[in-house]
Subunit: 159 residues, 2 copies
């Protein structure tokens, strides 16, 4: 969509560098995430979202996190996480325990089976990330990507 009429004169359209950056970012995200999702689904029978949940839990003390804390750390809605953890619980990879101190709260706990599933999936996934992403980037690109990502996250959170 480019500017063609005057009734939107107050909009600052994207210039060509922005246009290119934006489409490039969109396309790159799509192909990359699709590729990683397919790899994980094929080799470890889990979508990337599950993998990320297992990773966060594996890094937490006692392999345990509050649902809300887990959702925040994954930039996920509570609803999305609730559905996902319900499915992970069916697989026996995560268990939920209610918090005696605040009976509204729930703890998500990574089970041994869940840890094993993660350990089995990780090497292939990390290889795929390296092959599809980092093999294309030099150290300056890696640093730039980190900085840009941080800037975006901050910007979006500010509303």
């Amino acid at each position: 969509m480019t500017k063609t009429t005057d009734d939107t004169a107050d909009v600052r359209w994207l210039d060509s560098a922005e246009q290119h950056a934006w489409r490039s970012f969109l396309d790159a995200s799509r192909v990359l995430f699709d590729a990683l999702d397919r790899q994980l689904q094929a080799d470890a029978d889990m979508p990337h979202a599950y993998y990320e949940i297992l990773v966060r839990l594996s890094e937490a003390g006692d392999r345990t996190m509050r649902m809300s804390e887990l959702a925040d750390s994954l930039m996920s809605s509570r609803s999305r996480l609730s559905h996902a953890v319900a499915r992970l619980e069916e697989r026996g990879w995560v268990r939920r325990r209610s918090d005696p101190a605040d009976r509204r709260g729930q703890w998500a706990v990574l089970t041994d089976t869940g840890y094993e599933a993660l350990a089995a999936a990780a090497p292939g996934h990390v290889c795929a990330v390296r092959r599809n992403l980092f093999d294309a980037l030099d150290p300056a690109d890696v640093a730039a990507l980190g900085r840009i990502g941080d800037a975006i996250r901050t910007q979006v959170s500010r509303g």
Copy 2:
């Protein structure tokens, strides 16, 4: 997930700069795309995927593209596009016409109604892209983002 045993010694794990870049990219993509999807859904009653389809068609000669060409240009699977165009057709925003020269092929055509829906959605969407993304980036970042995106797309397509 970090290296903890020796049975995966052949995997080159991410170093801390890569780790940071990767999570930052993941998180930024998630919050950004979620924000844009919500804005479009709320203000124009369409998901971002529909918007992109309408944009491509609006830019094509005769506002018409082959389904496969459209799918490729959107980095979309044919199945995804088929479902999406079916829904767009129900809304009267796109029509499909079969190609007399190759009767397997279909042309997707943007209708006037579809064009109007796009024109109505575009200003708000572009503002949201600027507010959530470009307002946080200086020109060097914009250039870097474009280069990195291109590199990723190339890398992933090479398998």
